[in-house]
């Protein structure tokens, strides 16, 4: 290294820790322009790059490490930042200004500690392995998942915020969950006694055991479960696993070993500029102690990160002056909010309380001695009051004449402090410290779309708790600027799907062009509105989707009546009603698959999927299938897919009804029904539920007396158990109710909304739906049934229809001017069948085409 380059070289900045705060610091360094001055190197102890710990429990309900990850995979590299994952810093050599890892030594000019915290596990005799789990990292969660296999019950020690999150995680793993708390109430930091009691009642109602004022003395082998936890006083609780979530401790080991000042209660001591006792070293987030306090929330950590980044970028940095510890959460599905002085600890503070013992709701408003300012609040059961109350506290807004009104139930929903009442300085997003003024400025600069606003200002991209408030401010500001708020489907229709549905029905609209001409803009439409309107038209009038006016509306799978796969070939799924098939038909499927060399796989819906057909092969394949008596399976449509069934009373010694016959009846009735999203059904012949009906949109389970109907279940990414809707129905009654439920769904759901999400978004919930469908409270019953009958009467197999019409078959040509197949489709053989060649394999074979 020569002298000349040394002068121009950037200084070395090392960040120890790649958690949420460490990552935020990197983003801020990038954004504030500090990379001109520093070469940045980041060390993370974990294998994964920074991820969202706030939403950790989603790891068990559909998220994976990648969806939880913060920032894109290449983000650091893109900015020339070196990220060392799975490389723990062992030591800081302050004299030589180097950090030491197992891989070597790295010099620094400035160092930022962002090592976070670790879970505190009280010393309890006999705790080890599955009785000493913690809930902090993805690896911890993998350990919990492993321990949960073959387990029935799980206990969380600690009834605070994280403990309840952990209980939720155990619940989503299918365990019976219990919470053991040392204090006499849940969430002792955030809630007062009444709030804790209300939360306990709600959580117990969800089937989670709550054990308060219990100190665990020892853990021994259990009798009915793996372990027994012995409490003081002689009581015990048995369990298969124990997760400790009894609090966090600052991860300050590096600070201690390198001789930095450490606070009495832990945490590397920092000043208001986040500097430690060594001016070259900063500490931010949960590893830092400011004024004797450690802040275990993401917002204060972000604000420290922001300040340090600004200082390093040479900008005016604001100093850290403590943090608002207000929190708003949904724990186990229960709203909990805590604002400011929730315990009324301020001298002279007085409280208003609202207690609803029937609904286990609780709200407390703490005001100052003068009765003019809000000091704090506690909310359990309904967080719709939170945003307004927080604004009162944060902005010192004067209380209204009747302060109690702020927490009393309102017939029209929670009282909202109009967005216009907020001063420009009001913080909307505390994670990223975005003020109302910053949002208004972005709108003034032309930002007219909510997603864009989030992207530009970063508001609502942290914990997401400010989503509702942000939307309110955004819409209010747009209206104030004379812009109408856009709830449009797309740029061509200023209507929601539900409104378009009503227009189609009321005006009897039969085509997209008619719809566009009467209610839309332009003369073309787009890939959002065309399939949506196409689906509504099909739901209402059920004309063949291959009609010339309807073809251009369908998404590509509907257009070609097959499912496009990643290499542009299609899969073909003939209908196999109820999963029942004759040997002869099975042979035909085999023969067709063999003839066209199709990859063959059994589906989850008791059908057979044939993959790898090219466009021009589809008519011939379907010709042979239809010849043998098959119909289209509509696997390509947002429509009825399958009715799965068990063999029922015909064969099974337990069966109490003929589930196959019922499955055939249902599949025959609803086949081809177009809906906002796909529909899956199942019929089980007895309560053993072998057809898994409770995970379907429509689930039917036989009883001694008839059928029980379950609705709005879902498998997939967000599993949801179907809910029992009606019991002991006869065949005709069952079909009548399904007719009504499905048509009501088609009428009121949003586009691409599965029944599960639709049901959850229904105001009034299951009771409302029962009133509409079973008690006919809206007087719609007969109309819904008639609409369904029209659709049923007009059914025809789309493939049979298309094969009769040479005009429609014209489209099924790979090239309209050449007989060759697509030369870009390549297969390899694997396990006796062909499959698409992978991108990595593809470059090994010569290609004739150049990619642009």
């Amino acid at each position: 290294m020569n002298a000349a380059t040394t002068i121009t070289q950037r200084e070395q900045l090392i960040i120890v820790g790649n958690g949420m705060v460490g990552h935020h610091c990197v983003e801020q360094l990038i954004e504030q322009g500090a990379l001109n001055r520093f070469q940045v190197r980041v060390f993370g102890e974990e294998r994964q790059r920074a991820y969202d710990r706030v939403h950790l429990s989603e790891y068990f309900s559909g998220s994976d490490a990648e969806t939880l990850a913060m920032g894109a995979a290449g983000q650091y590299a893109e900015h020339g930042i070196t990220l060392h994952l799975d490389e723990a810093v062992l030591q800081i050599d302050r004299e030589r200004r180097e950090v030491v890892t197992p891989a070597g030594r790295y010099a620094y000019d400035q160092l930022i500690l962002a090592t976070g915290s670790y879970p505190f596990v009280p010393p309890i005799q006999g705790c080890e392995g599955a009785s000493r789990l913690v809930y902090r990292t993805l690896d911890d969660l993998d350990a919990i998942r492993a321990a949960a296999a073959n387990a029935r019950r799980g206990v969380v020690v600690g009834g605070g915020l994280l403990g309840l999150e952990a209980a939720n995680a155990l619940k989503s793993l299918g365990l019976e969950a219990h919470v053991v708390e040392f204090a006499p109430r849940l969430m002792p930091v955030q809630l007062d006694a009444e709030g804790g009691a209300a939360l306990r009642a709600q959580i117990e109602a969800l089937g989670v055991g709550v054990h308060l004022s219990r100190a665990t003395q020892s853990v021994v082998a259990g009798e009915d479960y793996r372990y027994r936890m012995n409490f003081d006083g002689g009581e015990y609780l048995e369990t298969d696993l124990i997760v400790f979530s009894a609090g966090i401790r600052p991860q300050d080991a590096l600070g201690r070993s390198s001789g930095l000042d450490v606070a009495a209660r832990g945490g590397v001591v920092i000043d208001s500029a986040c500097r430690t006792s060594d001016p070259q070293i900063f500490a931010i987030g949960e590893c830092a102690s400011w004024n004797g306090s450690v802040f275990g929330l993401v917002a204060p950590g972000y604000s420290m990160a922001r300040n340090v980044a600004a200082a390093l970028a040479g900008r005016d940095a604001s100093s850290f002056t403590g943090a608002d510890m207000s929190t708003k959460l949904k724990l186990l599905g229960v709203d909990v909010g805590s604002i400011g002085d929730a315990h009324g600890a301020t001298p002279g503070a007085r409280s208003y309380r609202f207690i609803d013992e029937a609904g286990s709701a609780y709200r407390r408003l703490v005001v100052d001695a003068s009765g003019k300012q809000v000091l704090g609040a506690v909310l359990v059961g309904d967080n719709s009051y939170y945003d307004t109350l927080l604004q009162y506290v944060q902005n010192g807004i004067a209380l209204p004449a009747d302060p109690a009104a702020l927490i009393l139930p309102q017939s029209g929903g929670a009282p909202a402090l109009g967005a216009d009442a907020l001063p420009d300085s009001a913080t909307i997003c505390s994670c990223h410290n975005v003020s109302k003024g910053a949002i208004c400025k972005a709108i003034d600069n032309g930002c007219g779309e909510l997603g864009e606003l989030k992207q530009q200002t970063k508001a609502c991209t942290g914990c997401g708790g400010c989503a509702a408030l942000l939307k309110q401010v955004f819409e209010h500001e747009l209206i104030a600027r004379g812009v109408s708020v856009d709830k449009s489907l797309c740029e061509h229709f200023a209507y929601t799907r539900q409104e378009l549905y009503a227009l189609v029905r009321v005006e009897g609209i039969q085509s997209f062009d008619e719809m566009l001409a009467r209610h839309g803009r332009g003369h073309v439409g787009c890939d959002i509105c065309k399939p949506t309107v196409g689906s509504i038209l099909a739901s209402c009038w059920n004309q063949p989707i291959m009609d010339p006016s309807l073809v251009p509306l369908q998404d590509t799978n509907d257009t070609f009546m097959a499912n496009m796969q990643k290499n542009g070939t299609y899969s073909v799924v003939p209908r196999i009603p109820g999963g029942e098939i004759t040997p002869d038909k099975l042979i035909v499927i085999g023969q067709v698959a063999k003839k066209y060399d199709l990859y063959t796989k059994i589906t989850g819906g008791q059908r057979i999927d044939l993959f790898g057909a090219q466009l021009h092969e589809l008519p011939a394949i379907w010709g042979e299938l239809i010849e043998a008596g098959f119909e289209t399976g509509h696997a390509y449509g947002k429509s009825t897919r399958t009715v799965k069934s068990c063999v029922g009373s015909t064969w099974c010694r337990y069966g109490v009804q003929d589930s196959v016959q019922m499955a055939l009846t249902l599949e025959d009735r609803y086949k081809g029904l177009r809906s906002p999203h796909k529909l899956k059904f199942a019929v089980s012949g007895c309560t053993r539920e072998c057809a898994e009906a409770q995970s379907k949109d429509i689930g039917v389970i036989a009883t001694e007396k008839g059928w029980n109907l379950y609705i709005c279940g879902n498998g997939g990414m967000r599993p949801r158990h179907a809910e029992l809707f009606a019991t002991d129905l006869d065949d005709a009654g069952l079909i009548r109710i399904i007719d009504r439920v499905l048509m009501f769904y088609i009428r009121t759901a949003d586009k691409l909304q599965r029944t599960s999400v639709w049901r959850e978004s229904l105001e009034g919930g299951l009771d409302y739906l029962k009133a509409v469908i079973l008690d006919d409270s809206l007087g719609l019953g007969a109309e819904l049934e008639a609409q369904m009958q029209l659709v049923v009467d007009r059914y025809e197999c789309e493939w049979a229809n298309a094969l009769k019409d040479p005009e429609k078959l014209k489209r099924f040509r790979t090239f309209v001017n050449d007989q060759r197949p697509d030369p870009g489709v390549h297969f390899v053989r694997e396990r006796g069948q062909r499959r698409p060649i992978g991108a990595a394999e593809l470059h090994l074979i010569p290609t004739t085409e150049e990619v642009l």
Binding site: E491, H492, G522, H523, V524, G525, C526, D527, I528, K530, P531, P548, V551, P552, D555, T556, T559, F560, M564, K566, N567, G568, L615, K810, R811, R813, T814, F815, V816, N817, D818, R820, D822, G824, V825, A839, L842, T848, E849, V851, L852
Partner: protein, 121 residues
């Protein structure tokens, strides 16, 4: 340089017939084999130049599927949505609306009587 269907029409010297008008599907796409390339033809009767020719290969998936995409009108221009990942390409210049890195070649194209012709550059 991005070629506009409209602009190039005037400059092009030679035209090659690729298919007939009856092979096209209104408001939708078909694919022709043209000089060793796969070219998607979209037919929008009512537009001044009702036929658009654009590369059939989707740069994101590598699959030859653009011709099977849905036609639309977004932010003032005619587009096709790629069927697999739904990114939009301008029918006029092949530009991707969501990602500057992606672009499709476009060709000058015209109806000549009942014939569809692509221009040879």
């Amino acid at each position: 340089m991005s070629l506009s269907n409209a602009a190039v029409n005037l400059q092009t010297q030679r035209w090659q017939t690729v298919c007939g008008r009856q092979d096209l599907v209104a408001q939708s796409g078909v694919v022709v084999w043209f000089e060793g390339r796969q070219v998607a033809l979209f037919y929008l009767p009512g537009e001044d130049n009702p036929v658009f020719a654009i590369d059939n290969q989707d740069p994101k998936s590598g699959a030859n599927v653009i011709g099977r995409g849905l036609v639309g009108h977004l932010k003032g221009e005619l587009v096709v949505a790629a069927p697999l990942y739904k990114q939009h390409f301008s029918l006029n210049d092949g530009r991707c609306l969501e990602d500057e890195q992606q672009a499709l070649q476009v060709w000058p194209v015209r109806l000549s009587g009942e014939q569809v012709e692509i221009g040879l550059a």
